[in-house]
């Protein structure tokens, strides 16, 4: 249930953005989640809704889209797409991947009323 701690960080970020823009109510939040985070969208939506109760984000819709993963090969320097279960470099055949994308969680947009 790492979604709970991610949702707590997300809510903190969202409320900070809303406060910056003097928003009174947050209607929608969109995030991009790296596929390697293994975030279950339903779980983060639920955790966010629970934590948002009593804040300006109460009742806000959270939209989650997945970010694909990319890696750089430590052996040959090639950059390539990886999936959660395969990290083999197509150029040299080694699985010595330094992850470039796919681990981050990005807050994209906040829709709010001011």
């Amino acid at each position: 249930m790492h979604e709970l701690s991610i949702a707590a960080d997300l809510l903190r970020n969202v409320l900070a953005v809303a406060a910056e823009h003097e928003a009174v109510r947050i209607e929608q939040v969109t995030i991009e989640v790296g596929v390697l985070r293994q975030v279950v969208p339903e779980a983060i939506v639920e955790a966010f809704a629970m934590l948002a109760v009593g804040t300006a984000a109460e009742g806000a819709a959270l939209k989650v889209t997945e970010l694909p993963a990319r890696a750089e090969c430590r052996r040959c320097g090639n950059t390539y797409a990886v999936s959660v279960d395969v990290y083999v470099c197509p150029q040299c055949g080694q699985a010595d991947a330094r992850l470039v994308d796919g681990n981050d969680i990005l807050l994209q947009t906040v829709v709010c009323q001011t």
């Binding site: 293994q38 395969v86 990005l106 709010c112």
Partner: protein, 221 residues
């Protein structure tokens, strides 16, 4: 009003992790993040690892658990520098919790800092604590299919320990399957087979650890 933000939600954790790493760099210690399922033998491994370095390298432990101080009580017998971090509902250690833990230790008196993460194969893997190396454990009773099932734990590992190998002759466990799965997930980390109970393979693990510690000293100079 639609506000476009595009910033990392994890930036708060990652910033604290960078501070942790800098503090531990300055103290010239090697920070080792140990991750596995509950019951893979993380604490038992440390119970054999810490005394093996007695008089040579000074160890300290930050140990994370949802509840109880049982692991800390076991490890406090071996090093006075042991701090239990109870995460409550949290399924992994965070960089901020480690930062608090570091405050409770005398970093100048530590060569090896073991951070025993909360037993969990998914949640701790994506969270940077500021460690220098990552250790992933897989115990024989868990089954030979776990590398493929939990790739994100094993992919970033710097060393993978197959623990409780004294049970290989009583359980159906195919070591070939583990190696085959690792060929797709992580060919960089050495796979060390060991048993903390019998001592088999412990020298390989201790040697690996001493090697990383020596590298750290070199880069710190």
């Amino acid at each position: 009003m639609k506000i476009t933000v595009i910033e990392s939600v994890l930036k708060a954790n990652d910033a604290v992790a960078r501070t942790n790493r800098r503090r531990m760099d300055e103290a010239k210690l090697l920070a080792v993040n140990i991750m596995s399922a509950p019951g893979s033998g993380k604490t038992a491994l440390l119970e054999k690892t810490i005394p093996a370095f007695d008089g040579h390298l000074r160890s300290a432990v930050l140990v994370g658990d949802l509840q109880t101080t049982r692991d800390a009580e076991r490890l406090a017998r071996l090093t006075a520098q042991t701090t239990q971090i109870n995460t409550g509902q949290g399924c992994h250690l965070s960089a901020a919790q480690v930062a608090q833990g570091l405050d409770s230790l005398d970093l100048a008196q530590i060569d090896l800092l073991f951070i025993e993460n909360v037993g969990n194969m998914v949640c701790p893997a994506g969270v940077d604590l500021g460690e220098h190396v990552r250790v992933a454990l897989l115990s024989v009773p868990e089954g030979d299919d776990k590398v493929a099932k939990y790739p994100t734990l094993f992919q970033p590992a710097d060393v993978i320990l197959l623990t409780k190998v004294d049970l290989l002759n009583v359980l159906d466990f195919d070591r070939g399957r583990v190696r085959d799965d690792l060929s797709r997930i992580n060919t960089r980390a050495p796979l060390i087979e060991l048993s903390a109970k019998t001592g088999q393979g412990m020298d390989d693990w201790l040697g690996w650890l001493a090697g990383r510690r020596a590298e750290r000293i070199e880069t710190a100079v």
